[in-house]
């Protein structure tokens, strides 16, 4: 039999979400917080994001990824009531909040928590998800893997690079490869607009005259042992390659920056229902999932473009998870959903790809986070007919944040617009 350890709040993942959640849980009164991190150090993906641009919202300065992480790590390490287990992989999680983890010294550990925060982050989409025809040579990397090689391990994956996908990591790596002496031949994007932030198009591609091909994709990878080149083609409105538009680009490396997928294997094992639109758990405004006492934040919940919003979200989850754990101490067993009243569902309507949280309590003044389906010049955002805000120059790559206020609830409830407890968030273009 394994010894079982007990904790108030267990946090799976010690990246930006886990760090902020741990500190928030302590501030909210949790007496015993445990962080389980599979890497040899805290900080998660921030440690390999050595470029600047982090923290503008939160700290009003432009930090590099590691610097942003170091705004949290020393506080976590200095708190004797936060127990950090490094090199520790959580193998299983049950709806009863019991975990099995493996640690290099303690071996298998059983951990039972009063509340759990999922902060496992996300993974990169790989070549396997894209079905690109051609051979299977060395030299095809995801952009984040290449980032780790170049920035932490000291390996240059190649000298002549084509990047498929215009996500932020790919754009950042286009600049990084160029600065390190490689030639980035092209960035190829299947959509008619770039996936990454506009500032990254400017400072990572335009600064170095790297061409960006929109409405285009890689249709063949050439080379037997090593990538020798790729064929790119333009695509039609259905993303089908247009015959006759093929162009061969010699290169030794193909980077894939084609999206991130929240890593929810453990969540699913704990029977946490997921939202197919975000790929992460369905949560309410406290970031509690539909499994009582299990919370989620950061990229495991939905993929963020700004770490500032990850910290914000993690603090909400950390505080709520601490409250849940404390209540359990006083009452013995917590029944149902953290004492919540009426649950309204928010569904994405026209022009909205997803909205989070997906559940809200009646009358709750909360920030709603959302992404639009396509770039639009000017929109009105409305919830079941009640106008919430107007925005200009919106794009899917930039997450929007809107406050749901008491006055909005008054309109929703008075006019009977919130019937059936289902609200619909829509983005309507305006002139």
């Amino acid at each position: 039999m394994l010894n079982t350890h007990y904790t108030d709040v267990a946090i799976i993942g010690g990246g930006p979400a886990g760090l902020a959640a741990a500190l928030a849980a302590r501030r909210a009164g949790a007496e015993h917080v445990t962080v389980l991190e599979r890497n040899h150090e805290l900080g998660g993906i921030l440690q390999q994001c050595i470029h600047n641009g982090f923290g503008l919202h939160r700290f009003k300065e432009e930090l590099t990824g590691p610097e942003y992480a170091y705004r949290f790590i020393p506080q976590v390490e200095a708190d004797p009531k936060i127990h950090v287990y490094l090199n520790t992989m959580v193998l299983s999680l049950s709806p009863e909040k019991e975990m099995t983890a493996v640690h290099p010294v303690h071996g298998l550990i059983n951990l039972k928590a009063k509340s759990v925060i999922l902060a496992m982050g996300c993974r990169e989409r790989t070549r396997g998800a894209l079905s690109i025809p051609g051979t299977r040579p060395a030299g095809v990397y995801t952009a984040g893997t290449a980032q780790r090689f170049v920035n932490m391990d000291g390996f240059m994956p190649g000298k002549r690079v084509v990047i498929l996908g215009s996500g932020d990591i790919g754009l950042i790596m286009a600049r990084r490869f160029t600065m390190e002496g490689a030639k980035v031949e092209a960035v190829v994007e299947i959509m008619p607009y770039p996936a990454g932030l506009a500032r990254n198009i400017a400072q990572c591609l335009e600064d170095f005259d790297i061409p960006l091909y929109l409405n285009s994709t890689v249709t063949k990878i050439h080379g037997k042992d090593r990538v020798e080149g790729v064929t790119i083609s333009q695509v039609d409105d259905n993303w089908c390659p247009i015959p006759g538009t093929e162009r061969y680009i010699p290169c030794d490396t193909l980077l894939l920056s084609v999206g991130l997928i929240p890593e929810n294997e453990l969540s699913q094992e704990a029977e946490v229902p997921l939202d197919p639109r975000t790929g992460g758990p369905i949560v309410d405004e406290s970031r509690e999932t539909l499994v009582s006492g299990i919370f989620a934040c950061g990229n495991v919940l939905h993929v963020h473009d700004l770490v500032d919003y990850v910290s914000e979200e993690a603090e909400i989850a950390g505080e709520a998870a601490a409250r849940y754990a404390l209540k359990q101490t006083a009452d013995g067993v917590v029944n149902g959903k953290n004492g919540m009243g009426g649950q309204f569902t928010i569904k994405p309507g026209d022009g909205i790809r997803y909205v989070l949280p997906q559940r809200v309590t009646q009358g709750a003044e909360v920030d709603l986070y959302m992404r639009v389906t396509q770039p639009m010049d000017a929109i009105t955002l409305s919830l079941s007919g009640v106008t919430l805000a107007r925005k200009r120059q919106v794009r899917p790559s930039e997450m929007l944040k809107i406050k749901l206020k008491a006055q909005h609830w008054d309109s929703l409830l008075e006019d009977g617009k919130a019937q059936g407890r289902e609200l619909c968030l829509a983005a309507e273009p305006r002139l």
Partner: protein, 134 residues
Amino acid sequence: MAIDTQVGEELKRKMTCIVCPTGCQLEVQRDGDGKLSITGFQCRRGEAYAENEILNPRRVLTTTVKIRNASLPLLPVRTTEAIPKELLAEAMQVLAQVEVTAPVKTGDVILANILDTGIDVIASRDMKRVEGVA
């Protein structure tokens, strides 16, 4: 993207502001007298960015240097402020020759006054000393 900054030449240029993630689309016009008119910004930092971008474009350089006796072979570093854009490649050459030894603390000066800019290159993370690692 070379821009002749000589006064007496008219200029019209569109650019994306890189100061924050909003990414405002800016438009800069310079009339024959060299006077700049800037539109499209949502805050004053954007206006200042556009002006600098025409007169003296600068970028913060973030890269790595070699480190000994640490858990990783590389230490991430950055310039404390933006340096002139045309010096970026040369600064990379200079930093390729730099090698430091752990332990290092965030903010430690790794190279002072790079290329006589008056701007230092500092460590952007802590790196503990690890015995038995070259």
